[in-house]
Symmetry: C2
Subunit: 459 residues, 2 copies
Amino acid sequence: MERNTVTLFETIVTLLENKKYATLRDILSTMNPFDIAVIFEDIQDEKTAVLFRLLPKELAAEAFVEMEEETQQLLIHSFSDTELKEVIDELYVDDAVDLIEEMPANVVKRILRQADPDVRKQINEILKYPEDSAGSIMTTEFVKLRPKMTAEEAIKRIRRTGIDKETIYTCYVSDEHSTLIGIVTIKSLLLAEDDETIENLMETNVISVNTLDDQENVVQVFNKYNFLAVPVVDKENRLVGIITVDDAIDVMEEEATEDIQKVAAITPTTDKPYDKLSVLEIYKSRIPWLLILMISATFTGMIISSFEASLAASIVLTAFIPMLMGTGGNSGSQSSVTIIRSLSLGEIEFKDVFRVIFKESRVALLCGVTLSCANFVKMLLVDRMLLHNEEVTIMIALVVSLTIIATVFFAKIVGCVLPMVLAKIGFDPAVVASPFITTIMDALSLFVYFTIATSILHI
Amino acid sequence: MERNTVTLFETIVTLLENKKYATLRDILSTMNPFDIAVIFEDIQDEKTAVLFRLLPKELAAEAFVEMEEETQQLLIHSFSDTELKEVIDELYVDDAVDLIEEMPANVVKRILRQADPDVRKQINEILKYPEDSAGSIMTTEFVKLRPKMTAEEAIKRIRRTGIDKETIYTCYVSDEHSTLIGIVTIKSLLLAEDDETIENLMETNVISVNTLDDQENVVQVFNKYNFLAVPVVDKENRLVGIITVDDAIDVMEEEATEDIQKVAAITPTTDKPYDKLSVLEIYKSRIPWLLILMISATFTGMIISSFEASLAASIVLTAFIPMLMGTGGNSGSQSSVTIIRSLSLGEIEFKDVFRVIFKESRVALLCGVTLSCANFVKMLLVDRMLLHNEEVTIMIALVVSLTIIATVFFAKIVGCVLPMVLAKIGFDPAVVASPFITTIMDALSLFVYFTIATSILHI
């Protein structure tokens, strides 16, 4: 597929240079919006407008939605007002909102001026909802049916009005107050008798989301129920929009990427792909965490300094600091990341905290004892006998091995409790994941290490 | 929504105890398969079969698919052969395959014995495909149309046969050799004139996946093209099945969870939710990595041992080991996780490696210099002046600050190159992410630290 895109691209460039517009139009008409958008990213800037004008209207709008911000801006600048109006008219309302959120103020003004008054009103409604809320990602274009209609009438209505709707596969039934009372799929309409009423065909136990719900909740609904679209209602249970599965998928990928970034101590800033991010943008998303984590390591430094005398007396202890800190950090990350993912998939809640602690503490004991024994054997066999490090005595091996048990235990408990508590009090648990737990564990494991060492070795 | 489920659950338990089966049947009939499955997880084992028999046939099968493995097994054991056959007949083929993959051998035998010969054949076909391939997650139930049909005939055909198909929203057009030649959506069928032929209505530039494609590629197709289903073809381009968007979503969540787990050094084993995993299962998924990482820390220990004399001469150097190792590890993870995610979303490929290195090295220099300056100031102001640590001299601050620049630079380069190279030679880059890069960086940063220290401080 990749290879095809490349050769096709060269053909298109040649045809464009030779002004073979009719041929180009034929080729483009057979292509998918996404693949067309890819081509627009790679052709020369001054050719984009020419190529865009060759696209059939609907396809042009669909491809436009898939393009990168820069290309969209470039095209909008080259559009006449009439052309801009044509594109805006073809866009689904939620795509128009996405576009407006990305464009600079002067372009936004021009877009809104060209939009139909009705569309402009809908766009402004959606723009009012907070970022990442269900309202902000919904579309207001869906098929509305009345309970007294027959299946035949409903199908007729869909055939008449469906062309402008984002999905016709699920239709929404509302009463005279716009209250959502049921949904009916086109599958059940098609499979029903012509004179069956919507009232009898519709599902009345409808799952919906609220306009102010977080988009993560929306994703959880799609995960649970395998819907193609979910209705969005306001506080009075009035139907105001729908969210389709393709938009839910975008949110899913965005949230997963954000979770992964946070685990690695990166501030999620934009949804741009890596190769579109500038060096400065990457720098800005990474440096705050590196600075915070570097400064917070001062505490570990202070702990080491305060035990400096003991360390000087038994310098061999230094050699095991990296291993102990690493083991503590890794054990803690395993727990915290597992818990964070379970929280965000809705598998566990705060009320499960004691069950989670009980489970993690048993896992911690098993892991701790295994690692401790392996380490004891390793230190005596490898470090002492194989590498002839005479400083590694049985007592030293004992100190290190006992520290491992304590460290792994604390790490797993901190790793599971911290994210749950943070989520409970309204923080994003993913932000504090690995790196912070690593910092806490670094300090904790050093403290445990030196305490055990001074009491057992009497230094 | 959560609260509703709880109270409803209590009502259902009471009704079940009082044997109010008619009322129960009415309640269950209005519910979603997922919510019914949740109830089955929580009721007493001996009541499950009674409750299940109250469900209407189709809903029973849909709820059965959503249940946990243990509950499914429990139910199958309580089924008569006729009951089992009824459930299997109602299942979509891909769900039947999922079920069979999870059940023990004796249950599988019983299921296959009860399945229709035709269904059994389809199940066996799908079972032949390798795990995580497109073939293994597809269904063989879809609407097939012929190019010469009219829109009216097609709609009639869908109304006649559609009830057993997993989706009727996209229909697939094949010629006499079963070669996939086009797709047509029900939307375009409904909006077309009655006597329009399928040939004229269908899209001929069809995106499809191959039976042997990895399921990650399937997810990328859904991400790009906003499809509700994608056709699966064999090597001869014959249409053998389809994958629907709900199954793609499951794969998406599974892959994202796996990526997050691997970043935290956890072996992804099962797709069970956290609260269904036993302590031993969790232990097994975590201990191998903890052991490997603990043992690999031997190298860092060896580096420290070999510079023990220098350390003893300037013991204050020890206090900055945790900070240096942490900064190196964090810098490396940031790069590796970003690259791993971009690779798995298809944003970058191996051919981009030099562009990526160039970008990362500029980011690394910016980060390194910032951190280095901040550290220099911090060591002199905080450690020396505020905490009165007289051992922290300007030369020591210089050694630590220079080490930071070098460490951050190496960390970012290793962090971006390693995942790309591993992906190129066919390994899973996520497996080696943070923890391994942390281990490599621990060793590297210590080596750089002591080398700079011995040459500047002449110890």
